[in-house]
């Protein structure tokens, strides 16, 4: 560490960072530095002590820490990979220097040939969704509560209401119940749940926890500590319907109201950002708008499964390694990939025809829950891929491959469409 030149500096040692490091190593990178701000590598998985991770990636059901350990085992003890924990990156610069700080090493400046951004995401807060009422103790994001319960050994409260049916909220409903707390209700402003189906079943239905769809909170009560909330039904525009209010007794409100990619460093760099993913715009190699700076995982777009995070990070790790070894061709045709119809977001947002013969994997999310949809990828008028899916939901990412032979030579802009079948 110090004045050395790294092939790759990876910002963030969660599953994305660790998977990217391993893939970069596999692809010939000789000096890799991973900078992690928490006391251990592994990211948010460390507090996700439930199972259900790794079925795709490791072909085995693991807990969060178990998955993190697998990722870590692949990179530890490799002389080419250095991992610094308790290290906060303060800035990433256009010249690919990184300024970071830690108690052990103080303020440091390191230089990379390439950078991979894997900072993950953070939770949307109460302020961001404008919940009226007081601001007492007892309002937590579900993730903050999860850390306290699972890693630090404390309860955020005993009588719980959860706002939002995102996966962390559902997992916490079960977790709090198992800790002996009473989960009074889960409220969801949408007319459908925003979590994975398996989490709805295993975390709510199995424990008889009431779920109120099309409901939100119209007041938080209690000046020092939460002592209740008022809930109300919402109309089609998600506005509370007067007269439908009812009070729920609780001492704690957990918020599971969405995740936001953590892109302060990306913005500091001036990377082109996508307004809907809230992450950097990337090509199929996960290279951002600044050459040599890659991004992968939840910092690019919020994933539903960590398995897909690892998969995406491996892509970034591979191509960052090739870039560092000057094996990635430059100045090639650049084709836009546009999300249309019911596709809300699609990553990558553009494809460079660098290596003809690459399979292009597309990750997308739809706008609303649908049954029997047709997914079509076109380049101009040529159909590259079309298939029917039995269901599509906003909460579950859809991943498809455009085979190399189909992708090849299609230099007109691509569109990715999902439509309900008539």
């Amino acid at each position: 560490m110090g004045e050395q030149l790294y092939d790759i500096i990876i910002v963030g040692g969660g599953p994305a960072g660790l998977s990217a490091a391993y893939s970069a190593w596999q692809n010939g990178a000789k000096k890799i530095l991973v900078l992690e701000r928490d006391r251990e590598a592994g990211g948010i998985l460390q507090q996700c002590i439930h199972n259900g991770f790794g079925l795709h990636h490791f072909k085995e059901e693991l807990t969060g820490p178990g998955y993190a350990q697998r990722c870590y085992d692949l990179v530890k003890d490799k002389p080419e990979i250095e991992i610094l924990v308790d290290t906060m990156v303060l800035s990433v610069n256009l010249d690919k220097t990184v300024t970071a700080v830690s108690p052990a090493h103080g303020l440091m400046k390191v230089q990379g040939k390439t950078i991979i951004l894997t900072m993950g995401c953070r939770e949307r807060t109460r302020g961001a969704i404008r919940i009226p009422g007081y601001r007492p103790a007892g309002v937590f994001t579900a993730g903050a509560a999860q850390r306290m319960v699972n890693m630090e050994g404390y309860l955020p409260g005993k009588k719980i209401v959860i706002l939002g049916s995102g996966d962390i909220g559902l997992i916490m409903a079960r977790r709090m119940t198992l800790e002996g707390c009473k989960v009074q209700a889960v409220l969801e402003i949408c007319p459908f749940s925003n979590g994975l189906t398996r989490n709805m079943v295993q975390c709510l239905y199995d424990y008889d926890i009431p779920l109120y769809l099309s409901h939100t909170i119209t007041a938080i009560h209690g000046k020092d500590r939460v002592n209740g909330i008022t809930a109300a039904k919402v109309d089609d525009h998600m506005k509370p319907i007067p007269g439908t209010e009812f009070d729920i007794d609780c001492d704690t409100l957990l918020l599971s109201v969405g995740l936001i990619p953590e892109n302060e460093l990306s913005r500091g760099l001036g990377l082109a950002m996508h307004p809907l993913t809230n992450g950097p715009i990337v090509d199929q190699h996960r290279e951002t708008s600044i050459p040599g700076i890659f991004a992968a995982g939840n910092v690019v777009h919020v994933h539903d499964l960590v398995d897909f995070v690892s998969e995406e990070a491996e892509i970034a790790g591979k191509y960052a390694a090739l870039k560092a070894q000057e094996q990635l061709p430059e100045d090639v045709a650049d084709v836009k990939v546009e999300a249309i119809d019911e596709v809300r977001t699609c990553v990558p947002q553009h494809v460079r025809a660098t290596a003809e013969g690459e399979t292009i994997r597309l990750f997308m999310r739809v706008r609303k829950p649908m049954k029997k949809v047709r997914l079509t990828v076109k380049s101009g008028d040529d159909t590259l891929l079309t298939k029917v899916l039995p269901v599509a939901k906003p909460s579950e990412m859809i991943a498809v491959n455009v085979p190399a032979e189909k992708a090849k030579g299609h230099h007109a802009d691509w569109t990715v469409s999902v439509k309900e079948e008539a």
């Binding site: 303020l107 807060t125 009226p132 103790a137 050994g153």
Partner: protein
Amino acid sequence: MTKQADVVVIGGGITGTAILHELAKYNLRAVLVEQEPELAAGTTKANSAILHAGFDAPTGSMKARMNAAGNAMYHELKDELDLDIRWSGSYVAALDDEQMDVLKELLERGNANGVPGLKIVSGDEMRKEEPNVSKDIKGALWAPTAGICWPFGLALAFAENAVINGAEVIRECQVTGITVEDGAVKAVETDKGTIETKYVINAAGVHVDEISRLAGDDTFKIHPRRGEYILFDKTAQKDLVYSPIFPTPTKMGKGILVCATTHGNVFVGPNAQDMPDEEKDDTAVTIPGMDDILDKARRLVPNIPVGATITEFAGVRAVSSTGDFILGPSEKTKGLIQAAGIQSPGLTSAPAIAKYLVDGIVAETGATAKTDYKKGRPAQPCFRMMAEADQKALIAKDPRYGRVICRCETITEGEIVDAIHRPVGARTVDGVKRRTRAGMGRCQGGFCGPRVTQILSRELNIPVTEVRKEMRNSYMFYNKESGGKA
């Protein structure tokens, strides 16, 4: 506990702390009592954070006198106490000819109040300095001496200086009675015991009339008026406005302004909701209130970054039945000194109010100035603002300055530990937040809240379950053993 004091200040907001700071310059035993675990926990924490130039209040009123004097004093105090103030100037914007006429009145009143440098500028002149304001603005009153500040920081700085000069601050101390004998104050009764004193300075904010009644003076009443605010992330539109931009005032008050904090967060507010007299602590925010604020703010600055909202909050202003500040000795009870009805421009006026009231006590008692009075306060390290060489040196001395706890605002463990052990140090999570900014960023303590809780537990040597968010009973976490058995 029975204590002796010369002066007891009731209330640890900006007014009370400024008074304590002034008292500490004299050979007087001064004690401040505050009912919450933290200072600046009432109106001082939820206001527009503006140091007004002083053209609003009617000429000759206490508000006008104290405002102009207080503003001038802060220009001196900024360096002396290392206060977080930006002398930004301010605008009052007019949207039509009628409002332009009001600006002329304000200009004349300001001149009469002794406010320096006021001038009326055209809309285009204003837009040269503030390119994001509405094209509908026809003109504005520019007040170069106005500023924006970090209001809790001001109150804490006053208290820190007072304490290093021998004044005492007792927190979590609720006044339960005031003993009056032969028409004169004898003692303040609290839930922590009795403090014998000849003088009580009543700076209890919205509760100042209740304290006054305890001492036998019911000559005025305080009416609570709530104001809501919305605060935005500093990465969003950080150059949206440089100076506070007010609408043309109406009978209801100064109106909803658009402003940026000293740290670059844009905020909008406040509205003015008259509350029932018994709802003095109602700081809840409402949907209609927030919609109203945004609607009005957009008339001044159309491009308000609503999507980057990080929090909403409300404060309650103490509106007195006289409409003016009520300052000075009570006519009913000897030794009771009122600092009542301190609504806007109370923050600006605080040092002037302090001097006015303390001068009175000094004249009456003949108290002498301390010969060993220490100016300033202990330096407060701020890692993110330091040059790299200084950062390196600080970490070399104390590695905890190399551990970033608040990721949004880049606040280190070293700064948090310092905040806890400073004079009148932080006791709660919000106390740490107001001294360091840990938790003030876009994640609003989501990441750092649990860590700050653990640092407080360690440094104060109390269980995690006894760490509070801010208010007396705002406990954050429970033990697992007892959890769920209720």
